[in-house]
């Protein structure tokens, strides 16, 4: 019985992983769109690419890491992304908005909400593996230096970098979660219930 229960839990976790992977994929798409809208709104040149020092700092996700550790690092990166996003939204009010403001703000809200969902999903996956004790203390983002007193251009560029970080880490999350999921594909309703595997286990 214990073995059966373990396998049922594993099946549920698989489906959660798949759902989180799908959510991350969708969020990555939304982040790409948000970055493009922001670029147009602020009339940044198309050739603009931000590189160099990253705003989100987590240890590298090497393949030697256990899935649990990889999840932890993803979760930490996403937490930092959310903190940066919240900060960007607050600072952006000072810069002023223009252009397609309504569409941009709607997209920004969408990204903000889905990022919250992705964080919650990732947290559930971590709880499945390590329990709630793992979250004491909750991973906090270190204070990221922001151009609070900088020029408006620096602030605009900084927000652009935040959105770029969001795009990068949602893509990384999507790929990692797909890798953690055995099928590596988007879950389907029949699979999430795990019924076929359960029967096979009993035999």
């Amino acid at each position: 019985m214990a073995g059966t229960r373990t396998r049922r839990v594993a099946g549920s976790e698989q489906s959660r992983t798949a759902r989180a992977a799908a959510l991350a994929e969708e969020l990555h798409h939304e982040c790409t769109l948000l970055l493009e809208l922001y670029r147009k709104k602020e009339t940044f040149a198309e050739e603009l690419t931000v590189g160099g020092e990253r705003l989100v700092t987590v240890p590298p996700l090497s393949s030697q890491l256990s899935p649990n550790d990889r999840l932890w690092r993803l979760y930490s990166a996403l937490q930092q992304c959310r903190n940066l996003l919240e900060r960007a939204i607050g600072l952006e009010e000072g810069v002023g908005n223009g252009g397609d403001r309504a569409q941009y703000e709607s997209q920004r809200k969408t990204v903000r909400d889905r990022l919250g969902h992705l964080l919650a999903s990732t947290r559930l996956l971590l709880e499945d593996r390590a329990g709630t004790a793992a979250f004491t203390p909750d991973p906090k983002n270190t204070e990221t230096a922001s151009p609070v007193n900088g020029s408006p251009f620096a602030l605009k560029l900084w927000i652009y970098r935040i959105f770029s970080e969001l795009e990068h880490w949602t893509l990384t999350t999507s790929r990692t979660l797909k890798a953690l999921h055995p099928d590596g594909a988007t879950p389907k309703e029949s699979r999430t219930r795990g019924r076929p595997r359960g029967r096979r286990t009993r035999r």
């Binding site: 709104k41 602020e42 009339t43 940044f44 040149a45 050739e47 603009l48 931000v50 009010e93 000072g94 810069v95 002023g96 908005n97 223009g98 252009g99 020029s151 408006p152 251009f153 605009k156 560029l157």
Partner: protein, 886 residues
């Protein structure tokens, strides 16, 4: 060494001559304590210094020359001569200058010297503002705010060894100039305001740049300050042109030096004492591009705009309105208030005044009406402006008895319809519950919406007076009385009337019987309808008749009744159209008929009156030759000629006819076209000839019948019996050898009868055996062939035919001679023979006249003479069995 000191002394003395020894007895030592500051936000250099100590000896003003140089190559960027006043106690001076080139772009140095007339001091030591250096491209100035339609300079400072690739403004590649070393500049003309987020400026990469806001300085105007609550001042102004600057760059306002709340746009509120009399109110508007001051002077006690009354309540019972004031200070103010009544969109404003006014009573409100009331007030003394309107309060007034009904009648035959107009909301003073119609001793209650009553029998005297009242919850209206005439109205001829502007301007002659005015009613002339009417007061003989039911192109009959103490009397009538339209009906049955050789009768059926949409003044006949359609001809016909017209003088051809009705608005009602092919006169001539010939034939037949019936008489008169000559052999000579015989001719005396004969017409009878045995040939061509007479013996053959036999014919010659009618055939040479034959014996058979059967001739057969014939006998033996005889 001595020589060196001498030369040095001479050199120094020469320098002093050049720089500071121009003033006689004065040595200009130059500005003291010079210091330089700069503001990168405004790109401003500020210089302060103290006066030249020697200036106290200068009797006139002192001038300081200020120079700004690019430190790297000591190129002068700006120089200025600054006048200073000697009277200044502090002797400390300040000078500032805004650099077009951002100060970060390269180092700037400043120096000063004092100058008096042509004497100058030495330059002060250079004071340098160091430019920025960077390891990567940087654009300066940072986050600047620039006015629209100005030129602005940006510079890019590159890192050591870096090369300028481009500078872009708003993603547009711009021209650059090399300032010095790694510093480059570009000048941009700010054509339009920036969006709320700034415009990007790049150098080499989108990652390296700055942002610029472009907008306008404040443009506010029209400051007005007042008080609402007698405890604060409230100033309003117009913002003017938008600055296009937002957030931290938007305009900030101060009122009398105190900041107005954030996000202030067009009004500023501050708590003040209002009893300070007249004072100035200054509004300062400031943004990064400029500062503006607006002023207003006012005594706030005379600038009171009251707040809106609160809790407005209105009562429909006594039509009173009460309200409250939010501020107790208002209770002691002498104020004037407007009470606005809105009734179905009609607005009535009434003014009331009093100290601390809080209630008013409204008079003259209509009963059973819904009103919405609003109140606003202002100070009666030192009136400044009306305060705010209160919220609306709705109430309904009480009901009252209805107004009198407007009653009229419509008589058709023995039936009279009593009509009355429904009372409007303003007339009914409440909801009408029923109508009461009293006719003689009968009372009938009718309920709305019925507003008529049919009286079918008005033969009794008491039935001629009808009373109608309306009733609501407050009571009955005053009775409306109408008297139905005993006799029908005398018919009146109608006069035409022309409508205008959708109605009729009606006027009529005054009626001597009119004592209480007139009633004008109207209805479509050719339609059943419910009559409409209007009552005209006494003394007025004209009215404008307007009705929503009026239709264009419909003929209306308007009847003018004189209002008398008794029944109304029909006084005059009019007929007309509100607006005449082109006839819509069609002229029917158009026909064209030819009469004679050049006359055509055109006939048609006129448009019936009920289909007429305008008065028809006449008809127009259009006709044209179908072979020449362009040759249209017109013929006008008056309405007196009832649908027919003769067109004369029309040449024979083929024609197309069309008839149109003529109205005041044009022609219309076109008939369908009719075609007529006219025939020439020759046909009729032939007809006449045929008729004449027929008549002649009939006459001839009649004569023939008459002659036949009176044949005996005619024959006796026209064809008497002619004896047949008798031929005897002995009159001939014996047959000669050549076969000829000669007739013995003895001279004899002609009888008297022969003398009568016209000798000139006498012929010669030659008996020519060769030509035909026994044939008697008449050589006289004048004798008609019909008169050739063959005397033969008439015998009846077995076949029923008669045959003449000359042998049996014997007629005494004397009898022949005695006839009156000549027979030219016998007035020939044969005449002698006849005479001779007299001796032989002539035996006429008189019985032959008794059978003048024409068929006789038809059945006659010719029997040639026989050589053995001895005599001439005319016999007519008719057997008893002969049908002729019968």
């Amino acid at each position: 060494m001595l020589v060196f000191l001498l030369w040095a002394s001479l050199f120094l003395s020469s320098l002093q001559e050049q720089n500071g020894q121009d003033a006689p007895g004065v040595l200009l030592s130059g500005p003291q304590n010079v210091s330089v500051n700069y503001d990168l936000k405004d790109q401003r250099i500020s210089v302060t210094w103290e006066d030249d100590p020697s200036s106290s000896r200068v009797p006139d003003k002192l001038i300081y020359d200020v120079e700004v140089l690019l430190t790297v190559n000591m190129t002068e960027v700006h120089s200025e001569a600054v006048d200073v006043r000697q009277a200044l106690a502090s002797r400390k001076y300040h000078w500032s200058w805004t650099s077009a080139l951002p100060l970060e772009c390269t180092s700037h140095s400043v120096r000063l010297r004092s100058r008096y007339q042509n004497y100058t001091s030495q330059w002060s030591p250079l004071l340098t503002i160091t430019g920025r250096a960077s390891t990567h491209p940087q654009v300066f100035p940072k986050s600047s705010v620039v006015q629209v339609d100005s030129n602005f300079t940006f510079c890019c400072i590159l890192g050591p060894g870096q090369r300028l690739e481009y500078m872009k403004y708003n993603n547009i590649l711009m021209n650059t100039t090399h300032i010095i070393d790694q510093s480059y500049a570009m000048v941009v003309h700010m054509q339009s305001p920036s969006p709320p987020s700034c415009i990007n400026v790049y150098c080499n990469s989108p990652l390296y740049g700055t942002c610029v806001y472009v907008g306008y300085p404040p443009g506010d105007r029209n400051l007005v300050c007042e008080t609402r609550d007698l405890e604060s001042v409230e100033c309003h102004w117009d913002t003017g042109r938008a600055t296009n600057l937002t957030k931290q760059r938007m305009t900030r306002y101060d009122l009398n030096g105190r900041a107005c709340p954030n996000r202030t746009v067009s009004n500023c509120y501050q708590t003040v004492r209002v009893d300070q009399g007249e004072r100035n109110w200054t509004l300062t508007a400031r943004n990064p591009l400029g500062t503006l001051e607006l002023r207003d002077t006012a005594d706030l006690k005379k600038r009171v705009r009251l707040l809106a009354p609160m809790e407005v309540l209105a009562s429909g019972v006594n039509a009173s309105v009460q309200w409250q004031w939010e501020r107790p200070q208002y209770h002691i103010l002498l104020m004037v208030c407007q009470v606005q009544l809105n009734h179905s969109g009609h607005i009535d404003v009434r003014n009331f005044s009093g100290i601390g006014l809080r209630s008013v009573v409204l008079h003259g409100l209509a009963p059973a009406q819904t009103y919405t009331v609003q109140v606003c007030c202002g100070l009666k003394q030192h009136f400044w402006k009306w305060g705010d309107w209160s919220e609306g309060s709705t109430f309904k007034t009480e009901e009252d008895i209805p107004e009198m009904l407007d009653v009229w009648m419509q008589i058709e035959g023995n039936q009279t319809m009593i009509l009355w107009k429904p009372l409007t909301v303003n007339q009914s003073h409440g909801q009408i519950k029923d109508y009461e119609v009293t006719w003689g001793r009968q009372e009938t209650i009718l309920h709305p919406p019925q507003n008529d009553f049919l009286i079918s029998d008005r033969s009794t005297d008491e039935g001629h007076r009808v009373t109608v009242t309306a009733k609501n919850s407050a009571g009955s209206s005053l009775p409306s009385i109408i008297i139905i005439p005993r006799l029908p109205h005398r018919s009146k001829s109608s006069m035409k009337i022309v409508g205008s502007d959708g109605g009729f301007n009606l006027s009529w002659s005054a009626s001597p019987n009119s004592s209480c005015g007139y009633v004008v009613d109207w209805c479509p002339t050719h339609k059943k309808c419910r009559v409409e009417w209007v009552k005209v007061p006494a003394g007025i003989t004209r009215a404008r008749i307007q009705s929503a039911s009026f239709e264009e192109g419909v003929r209306y009959t308007l009847s003018i009744f004189a209002c008398t103490p008794g029944a109304p009397e029909l006084w005059e009538r009019r007929e007309g159209y509100v607006k005449e339209c082109l006839p819509k009906g069609q002229i029917q049955r158009l026909a064209a008929e030819q009469y004679g050789s050049d006359t055509v009768l055109i006939s048609w059926t006129a448009i019936p009156p009920e289909s007429q949409t305008a008065f028809i003044h006449g008809y127009i006949i259009y006709y044209c030759d179908t072979s020449h359609l362009s040759s249209m001809r017109i013929f006008n016909v008056t309405t007196d000629e009832l649908g027919a017209k003769n067109l004369t003088g029309i040449p024979v051809s083929s024609y197309r006819f069309i008839v149109k009705a003529l109205t005041s608005v044009g022609e219309g009602g076109d008939s369908s076209p009719v075609f007529l092919q006219m025939n020439p006169q020759t046909d009729q001539l032939i007809t006449v000839i045929i008729i004449s010939l027929g008549s002649a034939a009939c006459l001839l037949a009649l004569v023939t019948i008459l002659c036949y019936r009176n044949w005996k008489c005619v024959k006796e008169n026209m064809y008497p019996k002619i004896p047949k000559p008798v031929w005897k052999e002995e009159w001939l000579t014996p047959l000669e050898s050549n076969g000829r015989q000669i007739l013995y001719v003895d001279p004899c005396q002609p009888s008297e009868i022969d003398i009568v004969c016209n000798r000139e017409q006498s012929g010669e009878a030659v008996l020519d055996n060769n030509a035909g045995k026994g044939a008697l040939t008449n050589t006289n061509s004048d004798v008609p062939a019909l008169h050739v007479y063959y005397n033969q013996l008439l015998t009846k053959t077995t076949s029923g035919h008669f045959t003449f036999s000359p042998h049996t014919m014997a007629t005494p010659f004397s009898q022949l001679s005695g006839t009156v009618i000549q027979n030219p055939s016998y007035n020939l040479e044969v005449q002698a023979s006849l005479d001779m034959g007299q001796s032989v014996g002539y035996e006429p058979d008189m019985n032959s006249f008794s059978c003048p059967n024409p068929e006789l001739h038809n059945t006659m057969s010719y029997v040639p003479f026989e050589t053995d014939s001895r005599g001439y006998k005319f016999q007519c033996h008719i057997e008893d069995s002969s049908p002729l005889q019968e």
